[in-house]
């Protein structure tokens, strides 16, 4: 018995999904008229899709909503971190003969991975990177393509988990910078 090849099956899925343009669609429609094999395959795909309809969410309790209190913005904690801790971490971030922190303070702007931030933004970011949290390393990889400026812009209003994820990214970017 003849079998449908992968390309044809893909085409039929695209046909079902409405992805095809008029020309392609009429080609498939013509094939469907001519070929019982095509029709069987299309029916089979339709049946599969129909079967998934039974997987519906049960009745769940409504979301208990009340306006939450203002979140604690943890990163300010590092901005006002004790001097000793700051110095220790600045030591870690030595770059081009200067610490990155010092460089940022002297510069008009800061570049990280080709992305430009204002001096103050750069200092805040670098301060953020000073945080150390082992758990962060296990989280996220969804943010790896973000630019530092995007990250900076997102810092306001983050909840704790998102904040952790972004800090992890910043740490990774800093390591990348050091290596380069």
């Amino acid at each position: 018995m003849k079998k449908i090849d992968t390309e044809t099956r893909e085409k039929l899925i695209a046909f079902l999904d409405g992805e095809l343009d008029v020309k392609e669609r009429s080609k498939v429609a013509k094939k469907l008229k001519e070929s019982a094999l095509y029709r069987r395959e299309l029916d089979s795909l339709k049946q599969v899709l129909a079967l998934t309809k039974v997987d519906t969410a049960p009745d769940l309790k409504p979301v208990m909503w009340s306006v939450p209190s203002r979140p604690r913005i943890r990163w300010w904690r590092w901005v006002v971190a004790p001097a000793a801790v700051t110095v220790a971490i600045i030591g870690f971030l030595v770059f081009g003969g200067k610490t990155l922190f010092e460089g940022a303070r002297e510069a008009e702007f800061v570049m990280i991975n080709g992305d430009t931030l204002s001096r103050d933004e750069g200092i805040q970011l670098i301060t953020l990177i000073m945080s150390e949290d082992e758990e962060l390393r296990e989280v996220m990889l969804d943010y790896t393509e973000r630019k530092p400026t995007d990250i900076y812009n997102e810092l306001m209003g983050l909840d704790e988990e998102e904040e952790e994820v972004l800090i992890f990214l910043l740490e990774e970017k800093m390591l990348e910078l050091k290596r380069s």
């Binding site: 997987d55 969410a57 409504p62 393509e145």
Partner: protein, 177 residues
């Protein structure tokens, strides 16, 4: 009141109005979360948490995308992170008891079997693919919008959707002609 109007008012201090958005989207988010988690307790937690995140991040929502797209993005990312870490989930097992008890008692054993098979088949898809399948097939969202929710290209969304159907077909081949 349209979403964007509610968002603007909440941003301007009418925080209570956020509940309009909660009620408007909770069922949809639950359906999406169910497809990704298949566990009642985890679904309820995830949806609750997603709304909380959305509320707290509302000031950075600039209206470039639709509110619903943004809310879905928050929800899907939150669930993907939870699944990645695993430990924060109450249970990683599927809530098969729910699958069974939610059946109409008049349903045949065959139908129950079918329902469980469908749930398992969907659960066997990778989490992101489950989300794509749900948003495309159940909600009929445009590929472009799904791509925006997930930070993928439209092509990647289409390819993933196709793969999902092929995998489901394989898993459910005993139930189709």
């Amino acid at each position: 009141m349209e979403d964007h109007e509610v968002v603007e008012r909440v941003k301007k201090g009418q925080a209570d109005l956020f509940e309009i958005l909660v009620r408007r989207y909770e069922k949809k988010l639950c359906a999406l979360a169910w497809r990704m988690l298949h566990n009642r307790a985890d679904v309820e937690d995830a949806v609750q948490e997603a709304f909380m995140k959305a509320y707290r991040s509302l000031k950075k929502f600039r209206g470039d995308a639709q509110f619903s797209t943004w809310l879905y993005r928050i929800t899907v990312n939150l669930i993907l992170n939870k699944l990645r870490r695993g430990s924060k989930l109450k249970r990683t097992e599927m809530d098969m008891e729910q699958v069974e008890t939610s059946n109409n008692p008049e349903n045949s054993a065959r139908q129950q079997e079918l329902k469980q098979a469908a749930t398992r088949a969907i659960n066997d898809l990778p989490p992101r693919q489950r989300a794509i399948f749900h948003m495309r097939y159940e909600e009929e969202r445009p590929h472009a919008e799904i791509a925006e929710v997930l930070g993928l290209s439209e092509g990647a969304v289409k390819a993933s959707y196709h793969h999902a159907i092929l995998k489901l077909r394989e898993s459910l081949k005993g139930f189709v002609d």
